[in-house]
């Protein structure tokens, strides 16, 4: 599955471990939440980056103590219909100020990129190659946003205020 990061298709340096896969010596690893929580001390001490795969039905608060230590948080969309991870992403970015890599995994299609970017995701394991290739084009599809989110884009309401004030200057 192609990984898109920074708008480009990149190599994935992370190896995904299952709950019982032996721990490799070095290299970057992505670990399921339950293993991560159980073995955090050991995992964080080894060489290589550690990321965690957090399921969409597990309380994100539990991850908060580790946020400064993980290199990536992978949230899961088991199907594109299941939007729980959007809430988790916003909580991580906006409430807990997580600044590390936030990866979308699961059934990721181009039609969700805008929503995901706005919710705070910055890397994407895309299901279809063509969708991954269309990332930049799709991500720029919208120029108007109605809601404030942590992505910092100016909302329509505030753009109108700005326009109104700038119009007021010359009159």
């Amino acid at each position: 599955m192609p990984l898109v990061k920074g708008g480009k298709i990149v190599d994935d340096s992370f190896v995904k471990l299952a709950v019982d896969t032996p721990l490799p010596e070095g290299g970057d690893i992505l670990v399921p939440a339950e293993r991560f929580v159980g073995e955090a001390d050991v995992l964080l001490k080894r060489a290589g980056k550690v990321g965690v795969i957090w399921p969409n039905n597990r309380d994100i608060d539990e991850l908060v103590p580790y946020l400064g230590k993980v290199a990536t948080v992978a949230l899961v969309f088991p199907t594109f219909r299941d939007g729980r991870a959007y809430s988790q992403a916003r909580l991580l970015r906006e409430r807990y100020n997580y600044r590390g890599d936030l990866r979308a995994t699961g059934q990721i299609l181009r039609d969700q990129f805008v929503f995901m970017l706005r919710a705070g995701f910055d890397s994407f394991e895309v299901k279809k190659q063509a969708d991954a290739e269309a990332f930049m084009q799709t991500a720029k599809r919208y120029s108007v946003f109605y809601q404030p989110t942590g992505d910092g884009r100016i909302t329509a309401l505030h753009r109108r205020m700005q326009l109104r004030h700038s119009e007021g200057v010359g009159t």
Binding site: F80, R81, D82, G83, R84, Y86, S87, R90, E94, R95, L109, D111, V114, F115, M116, R118, A119, A130, R141, Y142, S143, V144, F145, Y146, Q147, P148, T149, A156, L157, R159, R160, M161, R164
Partner: protein
């Protein structure tokens, strides 16, 4: 009227271009039907029994005449010359071709109309009182807040893939014409003791398989906090709403399973985190939205003009006036309801010619504005009383002056088995037969206010649970069977109807309804006692006896 600016228009156009690309990818096979389904639903496109159905949003029920003409154009160019107004301030077209949909959407976008989120598991078209801004006694025009919420919920990056659909309705009047108690979130605009504008917030109402009347979750949320409060409710719902079972996925089930106290504690906790965020709405923002609503320059007119006095001699005019004309907040003006329930026709349908002609009448007599109500009727919100006789004559020529608003033939009905792939039974023929049975205006008038609601399946698009008389079509051993409830209502006193007994066959429905009505006429204490009051006083038993004694 609300005027879209360049910013709103840009978003609608960007949406059309995205959907054009999605349709292209579907037609080329790049998108599977499963992937496309959700995308088309988010753009109001259903695959129905015979063809694609296209549902267009009419936010808070307000239409300008150029918008109504654009709907007529879509009916004519892309469909079979008519549209169907629904219970959710939408219009549906039943025979549209997938390949032509992007063009239809582009044509509508030119006049600021879209189909965003008229379906799908996201926040649906925000609905409101069709008399908003003109009803006497309302707190303020609820459409300003409806528009704020419409914008906020459009393409929301967190809540576009909810467990199920999500509906918000707003009223600003004590008399609730927006049916807020049968919505996922119902908002009632109120003022607190300091005179500040805010909302009583209700949650967890809904019909369908498991009907619930919404419960008050908070007695007062300040206007500036309403977006953060809605967002808090949605975030709790998005995380904890059930996704294992489509029938248990609506917020009403979550509220019911947790209990309103526990649910409101969850919401409160979430809200405290976000209420002082950028979601807080300052007065300037509200004023900006308010400034883009234009209101007519009303004239100073007499309360009782000569034209009206003279026309009163015509009993046909009087019958219509008494029935279709409501008081307006400005002296000398009226709100006119236009019945889309002519005898023998499907409720809520209008032809392209009727839509065009109505647009002309609205330009001439109603400052270019038309409203759509959840009863599947239209309204002209600002008609000078002196123009009522001329308007009536014009409407009559169009077949739009049936004097039956709020009477027994003003039936709400879903499309049923004739169009809908979900339906188990026909609705339209039942409605048609009932309108013929009670076509006599004297009789209908004698009966008084009585709402019949018909649904062709348990999903309750015809809102049968809240009909004074509710008719639900189900399928039993390959046959259409209809269950009859009485005592439901959708207004400020919202209640669910009670089943009166075993289901009856298609051919018997009209007879049974006649029996119920006859029982009421015999049982009422005086002519002013409405059907609902008699049911409330006596319960279902006497009606049950009357209907089933001989069956």
């Amino acid at each position: 009227m609300y005027a879209y600016d360049e910013i709103d228009r840009t978003l609608v156009n960007e949406r059309v271009s995205e959907f054009r690309d999605q349709v292209k990818r579907r037609l080329s096979g790049e998108l599977t039907e499963d992937e496309f389904k959700l995308l088309r639903l988010q753009n109001g496109v259903y695959l129905q029994l015979h063809a694609y159905m296209f549902r267009v949003a009419i936010p808070y029920g307000t239409l300008a005449t150029n918008q109504l003409r654009a709907l007529a154009h879509v009916a004519r160019k892309y469909d079979r010359g008519y549209g169907h107004f629904t219970t959710r301030q939408n219009i549906q077209f039943n025979w549209i071709k997938l390949a032509e949909l992007p063009d239809a959407l582009a044509d509508l976008a030119k006049v600021g109309i879209h189909a965003m989120q008229t379906s799908g598991n996201n926040m649906r078209n925000v609905t409101s009182d069709q008399w908003a801004g003109v009803a006497p006694g309302e707190i303020e025009d609820p459409r300003i807040w409806s528009e704020l919420i419409r914008q906020h919920t459009t393409l929301h990056p967190e809540f576009s893939f909810l467990p199920r659909k999500f509906k918000i309705a707003i009223t600003a009047s004590d008399h609730d014409r927006a049916a807020i108690k049968i919505h996922d979130i119902g908002l009632k605009l109120i003022r607190n003791e300091k005179g500040e504008t805010g909302f009583e917030v209700l949650v967890g109402g809904g019909l369908g398989r498991t009907p619930f009347i919404a419960k008050t979750i908070k007695h007062f949320v300040h206007g500036r906090d309403i977006l953060s409060y809605i967002e808090a409710i949605l975030r709790v719902y998005n995380q904890y709403g059930r996704r294992d079972n489509i029938y248990k996925a609506r917020i009403k089930i979550l509220v019911h399973e947790l209990g309103i106290e526990k649910f409101s504690r969850e919401v409160e906790e979430e809200w405290q985190h976000i209420r002082n965020s950028s979601l807080q709405i300052d007065d300037e923002v509200i004023e900006d939205i308010r400034s883009r609503f234009s209101y007519p320059s009303y004239e100073k007119l007499p309360h009782m003009p000569d034209e009206l006095r003279q026309a009163a001699a015509d009993p046909d005019f009087e019958a219509w006036r008494k029935n279709s004309v409501a008081p307006h907040k400005v002296q000398g003006y009226s709100i006119v309801t236009i019945s889309l329930k002519p005898i023998g026709k499907p409720p809520g349908d209008a032809t392209a010619e009727q839509m065009d002609a109505l647009a002309d009448l609205a330009d001439k007599y109603s400052f270019g504005e038309i409203r759509v109500g959840h009863e599947q009727n239209l309204a002209l919100p600002h008609v000078a009383k002196r123009d009522l006789p001329a308007l009536w004559k014009a409407l009559d020529k169009l077949g739009l002056a049936t004097p039956n608003v709020n009477l027994i033939t003003d039936i709400i009905a879903c499309p049923g088995l004739d169009y809908c792939s979900l339906a188990n039974a026909r609705s339209i023929p039942i409605a048609q037969e009932l309108t013929r049975r009670f076509a006599n205006h004297e009789l209908a008038n004698l009966i008084g206010r009585l709402h019949i609601n018909i649904s062709g399946c348990i999903n309750a698009c015809g809102h049968h649970h809240v009909g004074h008389i509710g008719i639900l079509g189900v399928e039993k051993n390959g046959e259409e069977v209809y269950q009859i409830t009485i005592g439901g209502r959708a207004d400020e006193g919202a209640a669910l109807g009670t089943l009166i007994g075993p289901g009856v066959k298609f051919d018997e429905v009209a007879d049974v309804i006649e029996d119920v009505v006859e029982a009421y006429l015999a049982l009422r204490e005086r002519p002013e006692e409405l059907f609902m009051d008699t049911v409330k006083r006596l319960g279902v038993e006497p009606f049950k006896e009357r209907v089933y004694a001989t069956r």
